[in-house]
Amino acid sequence: MSEAFIKLDAVRKVYQARDEEIVAVSDVTMDIEQGEFVSLVGPSGCGKTTLLKILAGLHQQDGGTVSIGGGGVSFDPSRDVGMVFQAALLLKWRKIIDNVLLPAEILGLPMGEARERARDLLAMVGLDGFEEKYPYELSGGMQQRAAIARSLVHDPKLILMDEPFGALDALTRDKMNLELMRIWRESRKTIVFVTHSIPEAIFLGTRVAVLTARPARMADNFRVDLKMPRKLEVKTSGKFGRYALRIYRLLGLE
């Protein structure tokens, strides 16, 4: 029997607020294969970020089980996670290359190799020649590219992205979607990607999980059967539209 890389079973997380309990996440059951790109989509307050932090090992779930590492893929929770947030969160006192190297420094990896790898990654995300620049010299989209390179530098098996393109303008966002699709295919990482945008979730995901806010639960989880590599025109296809409608319905936006 083949086992999934990540197995989530009835994961639940509750926050205590004054005298009432707020359910942030519930009923999250999902298998994620190694190399999958999973989009978590839903409105604000649906627990997407909480779920991501549980996967990162930053929060402990209150119920259910989370198991990462399976299907023949080992997983070391202390070094196999890379994270990208809505803000690039680059250290402004460090050059781009040194920002990318941060996880390698934290983990105490051999710096010579790491530096070489950081250079390759910067080239991969299209920041060739920006190694010695400071973050303020880069545009928002470029800073986010650097943040993606940083999430890959220690060669983690799982990349967690929390609305990484939420702060970018629509055109830059489309462009970054294409770039991320390419980066994911080149790096063959498992990516869990949180977004508000339904088209973005479908366009990038091999799988989409839909989370609703009230009640906070996982409402749907389906494979996206669109051919890879995807180009922007896929967004105009009937299939894409039907996926979008399916999600809109679940979120009560019909």
Partner: protein, 255 residues
């Protein structure tokens, strides 16, 4: 000469010019209104006071040691306490209000008590300078540490970064712009603290010297003492600016 160098020399030229202008106004003021020397000496007379044997060098050295000593202890204690407060919430909620109210005690009024407790000399003056200037450093460091994005800390915590790694790689460099703004405010307080200590009780230092020459109404020497105290303060301030220039990149400096 490159344009950059031209810009720089113009900049420094202006700074020197404006200071010389003040000296000129001082000179003209004394000359035109014929101000008596015991009220206000001329710039030349003030400079001439250096030729009188008042142990200028030794006294300046003592005052400088008190100012720099108190100041740098305050930097370490201020940054250290802020860090401990950020690590241990209980410490923050219990001790921070205490530190703030203790700070409301006028340190100048505490001076005589310090003398009772520790006799007089360089050490009590260092402590007065320290106690008067450390709070702004504590407060700005505390603020700077709070400005660090929690997501950034999560990012390295997911990699099981140690507390020390988080401090040295993220918290300390991230709050440096704030620390330096507190350090700049603290310079003038450290100078005031050291001089107050010398006024209250001491046997050496520029503040002590001022009280000595006041008796003989040697106003020129008093002017010179004030000038030297100011110079020590300016030297400390320039040192802080230089450190900021080295450690804080231009974009993140708090203006």
């Amino acid at each position: 000469m490159t344009t950059w160098m031209a810009e720089k020399s113009k900049h420094y030229g202006l700074i020197i010019a404006i200071h010389l202008l003040v000296v000129l106004i001082w000179y003209l003021f004394v000359e035109i209104w014929d101000v008596p020397a015991y009220v206000m000496p001329t710039p030349q007379a003030t400079l001439a006071a250096l030729t009188v044997d008042y142990n200028w060098l030794a006294n300046t050295k003592v005052t400088a040691i008190e100012i720099f000593g108190g100041y740098f202890i305050a930097v370490f204690v201020g940054v250290g306490l802020a860090l401990l407060f950020s690590w241990f919430r209980l410490l923050n909620t219990t001790l921070m209000p205490l530190v703030v109210s203790l700070n409301m005690i006028p340190k100048v009024a505490m001076g005589p008590l310090f003398i009772v407790w520790m006799s007089y000399g360089v050490i009590p003056n260092i402590i007065i300078a320290f106690s008067i200037c450390f709070l702004p450093i504590l407060l700005t460091t505390d603020r700077g540490l709070k400005e660090i994005e929690p997501d950034l800390v999560d990012l390295v915590r997911a990699l099981k970064a140690s507390r020390w790694q988080i401090f040295t790689k993220i918290q300390l460099p991230g709050s440096l712009p704030y620390i330096f703004s507190g350090m700049k405010v603290a310079v003038v307080l450290a100078v005031a603290g050291a001089i107050v200590g010398e006024f209250i009780a001491s046997q050496e230092g520029l503040g002590y010297l001022m009280l000595q020459v006041q008796v003989t109404l040697d106003t020129a020497a008093m002017f010179m003492a004030v000038l030297l105290i100011t110079l020590v303060g300016v030297a400390l301030y320039l040192l802080v600016l230089a450190l900021e220039h080295v450690f804080v990149i231009r974009d993140s400096r708090v203006q």
